[in-house]
Amino acid sequence: MSDTQTSSAVQPRPGDPEITPALIKEHGITPAEYERVVEMLGRAPTFTEVGIVSALWSEHCSYKHSRPLLRTLPTEAPWVLQGPGENAGVIAVKDGIAVAFKVESHNHPSAVEPYQGAATGVGGILRDVFTMGARPIALLNSLRFGPLTSPRVRYLFSGVVKGIGDYGNCVGVPTVGGEVVFDPSYEGNPLVNAMCVGVLREEELMLAVAQGVGNPIIAVGARTGRDGIHGASFASEDLSAESESKRPRVQVGDPFTEKLLLEASLELIRSGHIVAIQDMGAAGLTSSSAEMAARGDVGVTIDTLKVPVREEGMTPYEILLSESQERMLVVAHRGREREVEAILARWDLEAVVIGEVIAEPVYRVTEGDRVVAEFPGTRLVTDCPTYVIDSVESPVLAAARARNPHDVPPLPEEINPMWTLERLLASPTIASKAWVWRQYDSMVRTSTLVGPGSDAAVMRLRGTDAGIALSIDGNGRYVALDPLVGGRIAVCEAARNVACAGARPRAITNNLNFGNPTRPEVYFQLKNAVAGMGDACRVMETPVTGGNVSLYNENPQGAIHPTPTVGMVGVLDTLEHVTPSAFQRAGDTIVLLGDNTDELGASEYLLHLHGLAIGAPPACDPVKERALVDALLHAISHGHVRSAHDCSDGGLAVALTECAMMRRDAQFGFEVDLTAWADLPLRALLFGEAQARVVVSTDQPDAVLASAAQFGVPAHIIGRVTAADAGVEFLVGDVSARLALTSLAHAFHNTIPDIMNAGAAHGDTASSSSIS
């Protein structure tokens, strides 16, 4: 490679299409962006160069509509070892042990082919973590679908779950938690966000920064096929009937090769033979090589003829943009090529030198001797424009927020609040997701102390007595109705969840799932949601260490609810006080931390019983949320808390009932007296979703109250845990309601299995109905 001429002239390749305005448009490049490219190159781009720019300047790779907003987020804390800009963020835990973590979306691919879309999403996020030198120890995911009444939605749901399960199970990384939400706004655009957490020793941290003139660039892992060409720009388009016909773009995952690649990559990183490593993910070879070069501020040259291909006759354009899975790009130390090959060969994988780090400041691609693309310096990465759009709130959503939930007349049956409670527990969003997580191996690696179904998963870390708690959360309906408040809640709820497990919230990774950002109403949502998240992160001291942006989640029927999801990592300094969500012992006292309010807006109650997404979401004051977390952790660390569960979808009544019967093999009853709030409307008290509330069970209520008082958190003894056969009982002034646990438990545990078994009997398939 070293004999490459420095004065090489870029030549159009025979057979390449002519560069026309139509071709530029088809590549998602605006006329202004095209002008910028011409100015940068000092000439018209070749077809290959158009492909490269289209990929790297897509929203997915460039964050061009979100970067100015993301810059406002806090990213630093003493424990942050690596913030945004790398393959994953890294925080220190204890004793030299650190964790790397990141969330990423695979929304568009999953809409087209749910099984492979979700599977390859898991594969990608695993690679992002193990390229940092971290061994993946946990996967979580946040999923959104339309209502399960639709056969197409059931097909997507079961395909996504199977894809996640088959991939993670095979690689041997436990899937330990997550959330699944069903809402009409996601009917045409399901969301699949996967989060991975890996563990490493601090000194093993590896960065994807190309360095060292003369160092070889090596393609590692699977061969390159025509899979998913233009997947990155595909992810930056609205879904339409036309994109259904673009199906051949879908990539196929091979978790077996991933497992080999995982072991080989960790061995490579520990070997000291390599300088940098990066996943060939979105936009494949192009983005991995250009980004590594830009981070190191070096030049690179790559010869596409040397890239091992799976199909014959592939063009440089196709090789550069292929999104074939399970591939890595490695920069090795010069002279260590044989050693690298030997490590890969041990795992039955290929390693082929395809390029070199060069002194000349250029990003160059050749096809043998022919130069097919060349960009000056790192401008391919750094010159991508960013956009700030005028933002305007959607008047429809502003009007929906202004509506008073109390104007919605209750259904006649609601005279009995237990009827309402049972209905809510049967809402697929609230009901048990055991049908989902039983398909995931949540225990492999024997480190899962608390698995799926609790507020947060808890993992022990070998090599230290500390642990981590993990959660992923978001509520798109809140964000739709008030982006600023919704953004705050996403962070605060995730913090509450890890605190309920006994962990101090430490850092987040976020996935911003929004509609088309060039529409002012969508940009308004993005801008305000990011601002809200920033507010909460600053107060909670949980910096953002990285994440993903998925825009253009809309179809001709409209955009999804704006849905930022927050993956939170919390740290437990010891494993002495890992706290479950479920009640543990009859006779324990139930304490409510936080206060009940008259806030019924944007609730699951309004959606599930009345089909309405209206009203203001509950207020969220990050300072109060922080105090709640501090008080709860104080009580937990002193051994005063037997269980802790936060109030979220469905409010206090649902939270209490979940504590009683979320575990099928250890159920309880409870009796609570809420007379202190008898002046609140009953349905707001029971089903409103006021924030900053946690249900605690304890045998030392005075100590819990003292912890709350110390941090200025309201706290009330509201009742006690009873035996399961006593059922559940609510007393509010002169209203008393009770019900046997069995019917509530049936609603909670059987809803999703019943729907899915009935759907399977009807043969839900890909062609059940088409998108849009």
């Binding site: 398909q439 949540s442 024997t446």
Partner: protein
């Protein structure tokens, strides 16, 4: 006791087996690479769980041809103990070390759960530390765990006391609801006619620590250690 844990491409419970043996049993363990012919003097061989060769074609079908399997078969023929867990059980069946086969779960989905097993036989070298009809809690995590065999094979297994574990409910009753995969006669684990190869779909190596929900797998490892020690004394 020295334990050799076979590492196939795609094994993913190898490290869990290692930690169970070293951290919880207190014995020595080594990894044996599938391309080698060396069991490194192991007294007990563990075929661990995972997805060897991605479970492509049939679970275990490709792994049985790995070079190391010749040594594992020879080890078993000498009467030395082999513990085949989950994917290891599938490999052992494909390799002819155990009778029968493991098919796709009857509900066609992967299943991960804590299940109850009844110890059917304490006369084996794997189960001497349990008591008859003891109900233990051990996790399962598999997509292809439905044990099947011809009628005469089943009769022989039953008659010889070689059905070692059965899926039961918490009270120890054999029920359909307690069967996580549709295995014939709720069979969860069997041993060969010589009694030195145990295959089981549940994961005893995941049940060695009450922090993880159960330590009921530990007596199994201790039973093997006991049997090796008594052999050494003879």
């Amino acid at each position: 006791m020295k334990v050799g844990i076979i590492r196939f491409p795609g094994s993913n419970c190898d490290e869990d087996a290692y930690h169970a043996v070293v951290d919880h049993l207190g014995a020595e363990a080594v990894f044996c690479w599938h391309k080698d012919h060396d069991l490194q003097g192991a007294d007990l061989v563990i075929l661990p769980g995972g997805f060897s060769y991605g479970d492509y074609l049939r679970p275990g079908a490709i792994a049985r041809f790995s070079p190391i399997m010749q040594e594992v078969v020879a080890h078993a023929k000498r009467g030395a103990p082999v513990l085949a867990i989950c994917n290891g059980f599938q490999i052992a069946c494909e390799a002819g070390l155990l009778p029968g086969a493991l098919l796709r779960n009857d509900h066609l989905k992967f299943v991960c759960d804590q299940v109850h097993l009844r110890v059917e036989s304490i006369g084996t070298r794997f189960t001497s530390r349990y008591h008859v009809d003891q109900v233990i809690t051990i996790p399962v995590a598999h997509g292809d765990g439905r044990y099947t065999a011809d009628g005469d094979v089943l009769e022989r297994l039953e008659g010889d006391g070689h059905v070692v574990f059965r899926y039961v409910d918490a009270a120890g009753h054999v029920t359909d609801a307690a069967n996580p995969n549709g295995s014939l006669r709720n069979i969860a684990g069997i041993c060969n006619s010589a009694g030195n190869v145990l295959g089981m779909m549940p994961h005893p190596e995941r049940a060695v620590d009450t922090q993880l929900g159960s330590a009921d797998g530990l007596p199994l490892l201790h039973s093997i250690a006991d049997s090796l020690m008594s052999e050494a004394l003879v």
